[in-house]
């Protein structure tokens, strides 16, 4: 119990931070925003799953994937395939030349459901696939690359190429995937109309709770022994390797975990927004997701959520009012975050808090807060810990 309190909830400071986020997401926003705006926030929160995954992968393990949109999209497509099959039952689609298959297949002269679509008639399988398909692909890609010690910018460039491959592939197979338009016109989940207002509220809360769940999982990983190993790997990979740890396996695990989180985010995106298309898979969305995490602070799981919300709110405000300025601002944000605020909003918050507590008379508190969590002690780790199997 004590371990749960210290590691997963992160002690007193961690609980307070999490509680503030939970109150903001579960109480403040739903009570103050109209359903349209709340639905938008829900959409942004689905990107926050990607950011949380990136904090683990990039911030903690030092592996920058520019292709997280792949996994977001795969999760989304798995969900959308189920919803689309439910939306195209033989009665509603009886005007098609082949009733009972999704409309875009009919337009592409398909006469039977492709084999890959058949398992998605089942909801349990689809929900399983939302997590399993991205994780499996990440496992394949990750094992292939990390075991051969492909790292750094090479890994980033190859993941970017994969994002292009997948978005082109979805685009090119119109009969199988809906092509450029994606999968649209989704209506019900097991007979429950997901477009109604009450459903949108429910889905929003489900999204928030799952996100908090992901943050807790992330904290568990970061605070575990593996989390310390990941940090050590980020700073001195060869040293960890020569101490007898299987560096590649740890990286593969984190990559799969982040992919699974992206998949959940993608599925929730489909449920709340009602469509999925290759434009959410390609290079541009994938790299934008990185900036969400970077703005929040690449080491901070909670910061990732705030960063995602801040950038997306800014994006919708600016592109509504000054569409000309938005790309300048976004570009400037990339550069500024990298050059001046490497720890993002979380870093700013930490330094502001440190300064405040230095001003206040109870300066003893400052000492506890100032040390950054980013200091791995690789040498201690190696001496005190037994080899992992």
């Amino acid at each position: 119990m004590n371990k749960f309190y210290k590691n997963i909830l992160g002690g007193k400071a961690g609980i307070i931070g999490l509680a503030i986020l939970a109150v903001l997401l579960l109480v403040v926003l739903p009570s103050s925003l109209q359903i349209f705006r709340l639905n938008l926030v829900g959409k942004y929160l689905t990107y926050a799953f990607v950011s949380v995954g990136l904090v683990l992968l990039w911030g903690n393990a030092g592996v920058l994937s520019l292709g997280q949109g792949i996994f977001f999209g795969l999760g989304g497509y798995c969900m959308a395939m189920f919803l689309k099959l439910e939306a195209s039952d033989p009665i509603t689609t009886k005007i098609q030349s082949t009733p009972g298959i999704p409309d875009f297949m009919d337009w592409n002269q398909l006469t039977a459901l492709p084999a890959i679509w058949v398992p998605f008639k089942s909801l349990p399988f689809s929900l399983f696939a939302v997590v399993a398909v991205p994780a499996l692909l990440a496992f394949i890609l990750g094992s292939a690359m990390f075991k051969r010690r492909v790292g750094g910018v090479y890994f980033s460039v190859i993941t970017q190429a994969f994002a292009l491959i997948l978005s082109l592939g979805i685009d090119g197979n119109q009969g199988l995937t809906g092509g450029r338009n994606g999968i649209t016109d989704l209506r019900t989940l097991w007979g429950w109309d997901i477009r109604s207002e009450s459903a949108q509220y429910v889905l929003y809360f489900v999204c928030c709770l799952l996100l908090i769940g992901c943050i807790l999982v992330g904290r568990f990983v970061v605070s575990s022994r593996m989390g310390r190993l990941l940090l050590a790997m980020k700073d001195r990979e060869d040293r960890v390797l020569f101490s007898g740890y299987d560096v590649a396996s740890f990286k593969v695990f984190v990559y799969c975990l982040s992919a699974a989180m992206c998949g959940i985010g993608g599925a929730l995106f489909v449920l709340q927004v009602g469509f999925i298309s290759p434009s959410l898979v390609g290079i541009v969305p994938s790299i934008e997701m990185v900036i969400f995490a970077a703005v929040g602070g690449k080491m901070s799981l909670l910061g990732a959520v705030y960063g995602t919300l801040a950038v997306n709110t800014g994006k919708s405000l600016f592109s509504e009012n000054f569409p000309q300025l938005w790309l300048f601002l976004m570009g400037g944000l990339f550069i500024a975050v990298v050059m001046f605020f490497p720890n993002g909003l979380a870093g700013l918050w930490e330094s502001a808090r440190a300064r405040l507590s230095r001003l206040s008379p109870r300066s003893g508190a400052a000492k506890k807060i100032i040390p950054m969590p980013a200091m791995p002690q690789a040498s201690n780790l190696v001496e005190t810990e037994p080899k992992l199997p």
Binding site: L64, S156, G169, G172, I283, I287, L327, G331, I335, M339
Partner: protein, 307 residues
């Protein structure tokens, strides 16, 4: 298929071969500047495509100015415009290195994000200045039309021009890297920075020069592409993944590798696009490259530099 006669098949082969060669020279031109920056400095410049667009817009601007002020000069302006494109892109590249890149050499992953930000800013700048519509410079007469060696073979002159330019530029860069004083210093810096500093090479200046050179070459590539297609604010970003794959596939620090990989990728792509539908041909090519990269992560011709 039987409908084709032997001579027609021959012509198809020639023209298909030519289109592969033409794609090869395009890829080579795009990759050359990147090979200089990524290969020599290890810096990933995601704004590379925007530097190409910068070169293309420079040519467009020169063509507009020539038409307005010196119409008699129109047949010759293009050659000078290429030179101007090089200078403009190199100048901007030098400024970017001075203002941004030199602080980031120790953090390669962050350069990815910073240069992506730069590419967004440049795209929006193009859109604000030149408008969202694609533009084409007025090309001189001698670049139009095509050769017709026989009745059925049709080889466009602009394709030949791009090919010649890319071969010329490759030869120039290779000569420069391996035969000139500055090239020697650049290679020394790549191989051992501390030692190069110890023998009196100003490595900071070399970095700036290398980056500017790579950007300038990208500018020339962009200028050359105005002969085969129009230029829009986001045309640079369309090339970026191809360009990187050419360089990474070839092996980062090897000029020969870049040439071989550009040739291989271009031929694979033009053949697979002939047999498959448009995008699937491209997907097949990209998959093949990535698959080979997973087996040989350092590319076809890995450099033998210790890092």
């Amino acid at each position: 298929m039987l409908a084709y006669s032997l001579s027609e098949i021959w012509s198809i082969l020639i023209m298909q071969g030519f289109s592969g060669l033409s794609l090869f020279s395009v890829l080579l031109l795009m990759a050359l500047g990147l090979a200089v920056i990524f290969g020599q400095m290890g810096v990933v410049n995601l704004a590379h495509g925007e530097f190409m667009a910068l070169g293309a817009y420079t040519v467009y601007l020169s063509s507009q100015l020539t038409e307005a002020y010196a119409p008699g000069f129109a047949p010759y302006y293009f050659v000078f415009a290429i030179g101007i494109a090089f200078c403009v892109a190199a100048l901007v590249g030098g400024l970017v290195e001075w203002g941004m890149m030199r602080f980031l050499y120790k953090r390669p992953l962050d350069t990815l994000l910073a240069t992506w930000g730069l590419s967004l800013i440049m795209q929006q700048a193009f859109r604000s200045i030149f408008g969202a519509r694609e533009v084409t410079p007025t090309l001189p007469e001698w670049l139009m039309g095509s050769f017709k060696p026989t009745e059925t073979i049709d080889i466009p002159i602009n394709g030949v021009f791009v090919m010649a330019l890319s071969l010329l530029l490759t030869a120039g860069v290779t000569l420069f890297m391996f035969r000139s004083r500055i090239g020697l210093r650049t290679r020394a810096t790549v191989q051992n920075r501390a030692m190069s500093e110890a023998v009196g090479i100003n490595t900071g200046l070399i970095d700036r020069f290398t980056f500017a050179l790579g950007c300038g070459i990208a500018g020339v590539a962009g200028a050359a592409f105005t002969t085969i297609g129009s230029t829009g604010p986001d045309s640079g970003s369309r090339y970026i993944v191809d360009t990187f794959l050419v360089v990474v596939f070839g092996g980062s620090a090897s000029m020969l590798g870049t040439i071989v990989s550009a040739l291989g990728i271009a031929q694979t792509q033009s053949i697979s696009e002939f047999f498959l539908e448009g995008t699937m041909g491209k997907v097949t090519t990209l998959m093949a490259i990535v698959f080979i990269l997973m087996i040989r992560p350092k590319g076809l011709f890995p450099s033998k530099v210790r890092s």
